[in-house]
Symmetry: C2
Subunit: 342 residues, 2 copies
Amino acid sequence: MTDKKMDMGLLAEATRGGRVESRHYGRAVVVDTAGRLVWSCGDAESLLFPRSTVKAFLALELVASGAADRLKLGDDALALSCASHGGEEAHTRLAASMLARVGRDETALECGAHWPSYMPAAGQWMAQGHTAPCCLHNTCSGKHAGMVCLSCDQGIDPTGYVDPEHEIQKRVTASLEQVIGVPHRAENRGMDGCSLPTYAVPYRALAQGLARFGTGDGLSDAYAEGAARLRRAVAAHPYMVAGTGRYDTAIMERFGERAFVKMGAEGIMVAALPEEGLGIVVKAEDGGARAAELALTALLKRFGQKSLCHSGEDEAFLDRWSARKQLNWRGREVGTLRSVIR
Amino acid sequence: MTDKKMDMGLLAEATRGGRVESRHYGRAVVVDTAGRLVWSCGDAESLLFPRSTVKAFLALELVASGAADRLKLGDDALALSCASHGGEEAHTRLAASMLARVGRDETALECGAHWPSYMPAAGQWMAQGHTAPCCLHNTCSGKHAGMVCLSCDQGIDPTGYVDPEHEIQKRVTASLEQVIGVPHRAENRGMDGCSLPTYAVPYRALAQGLARFGTGDGLSDAYAEGAARLRRAVAAHPYMVAGTGRYDTAIMERFGERAFVKMGAEGIMVAALPEEGLGIVVKAEDGGARAAELALTALLKRFGQKSLCHSGEDEAFLDRWSARKQLNWRGREVGTLRSVIR
C-alpha cells in the first residue's frame, strides 16, 4: 500500500492477541489557509464527498444573514445546526424549539426519520410507547432546522428546501463555494443520507476551507465573523455537536476553541486548528469511522503540538484517543485500535 | 491494490452520485475438502482470527457427545448454539431454556452483557424498565449456553469454561483442530469479544474446514453425523442463527441445507456449499461487514451455480444481495453497494 500507484497509505490498525487483525487504508491532508499542502498521505487532489463535515460551512448564512439574531437562536442552537447528533432528548428538544421560532414543527423537516444512534435514547422513546422514530431523531435534524429557520426568516417558503434548485439551497451552496473555493455543480453532486446535496471536492480544497473557517482568512467579513461565532458556539456546546460518548464532543470538550472537529459519514474526520492556521481532512477508504478518529487524533497531536499540547495531560489525552485498548464485554483487554499514520 | 506485493484484492465498493465513495480490499478463498485452492484473492496462507465463524464447529461436541440428545435440545437450540444472534426475545428465551435444562440460569454465562444489536429488542427491554442488558442478550449467548450444557452433561463444573485450560474448552478446541486441521495453541491465540479464545489460522485451512463441515469428508463418523445434524438444524431455524434483517438468516432461509453461511466479527463471512464440496472464506481487511456480505454473495453465485441457482429467481436473489441500492432516510436512491470481486 506504500506503492506510488496505490495513492493511499496505512491509517490505522486493530490488533488482537498480539497480531494485526484488521487494517485501514486511506488519505489524509494537512493544508494551510493559502491552500499549501503541509503534509499528505495519498493524492490530495482526488475527490471526496465531504458529507456532514461541512455542516458548519452550511450554517454560515444563518448567522451572516442576521437570521440567527433576529430569531434569537442561542449558541446551543448554532452548535446543533453544525451537528451530527445522537438523537438524545436534549438534541431533539432543541431542534423542535428552533422550528418553533418560525412557527413550524418537525413536519417541516425533509431529512427523513431514523432511530437515534445513541441507543438509550431510542429505548427511552420506545418506552414512551412509540414504535417509530421521528424526523427530529435524524442525526441531521439540527442542520435541517437551521435551514428551515433561515428560509422562513428570509420570507421564503421552506417547502422543498433540500432541492438543489431551492433558493435556500442555492444560498448555502454559495457559502460552500466561498469557503472551499471550488465549483459546486450538478456534475459533482451526490445526495446525502438526509436528502441534501453533497458535492465531491478535492481533499486539499476541503482542508483549505477548514483552515479558512478556523481563521477567517480568505472569507468575506460577514463570513469571517460568522465562522468565529460558530466556532465559539460549538466550543461552548460540544455536546450539541455529537453527544454522549462521541469523539467530536470529547475532543472539543477538552480543547474548546483551539480545535474544531467534525465527523462525516463513510469514514471522514476533519479539523480546523485556528491557532496553527491549518485544516485537516482524513478519510478511511473503506468508510470506517474508527480509523478516521484514530488517524485524525495522531495528526492533531503532530500538527497541533503548539496550540493543543499545553501539558503532558493534553498529550496523554490525545495518545489515549489515537491508541485505544480494545476491551471485551467483561472488560478484559483483547487488543488495540491504533493510528499507524507515519 | 492489484500489485503482487499487496496480497489483497478489491472486494466491494460504495458509490454515490455516480462516483465511487468508498472501497473495501481484502482476501477471499474457495477451497475443496482436500484443501485444494479452487480460487483465491490474496494470500491463502496468511492468518486470520475466525471469530464467530467457527461456532458450528464448536457445537460439534455438544451433538457428538450425546449431550444434546440426553438434554433433549431441539434443532432450534442447536441452531442457537451456532449463532451470532440479535438479542431478540426469541433468542434470549431459548438461551435461557437451554440453561434451564441443566438447572442453570444466565449467571452461569461468562460472555458478558451488551445491548441487543437488534435495536427494537433493546427498546423493548428498556420499555420493561431495565436500564442495562443481561448476558442472554450477548450475541454469543447461545454458544455459551451450549458449552454450559455440555459441561454439566459431562459432570464437569462449568465455572471458568471460557478459560483455554478448562476441560470443556480443551474438548471444543480439539474439535476445531479436527475440522480445521491445524494446531490451536497459545502461540496463535487471541481472546474474542465474548471472552472465549479465538485461534489465528490460515484462510485456506478455515475454508477446508468449512468444506469438511459441509460434506463430512475427513471428519470422524461422529463428527460427520454431528455436522449433518447441525446443518439440518440451522437450515430449519435460520432465524435462530442471526435474526431479523440479517444476511446469514436471509441466505439460509432461501437456500436451506444447500448453503451454510456464518458471519464473524471484523468483516468475515464464510460459507459451506455441501453439494459442491466447497468452503469459502472472505475477510475485508478493514473489518467491514458489508464488504464481506457483498463479496461472499458474488462467490456463492459463481461457485454455487449448480446447487444454488435452480432458477432465474435464485440468481436474481443473489444479485440483489451482491449489488444493493443504497436508499436514504426518505427512500431515495443515493448510490450502490456492490461486490467488485473478479
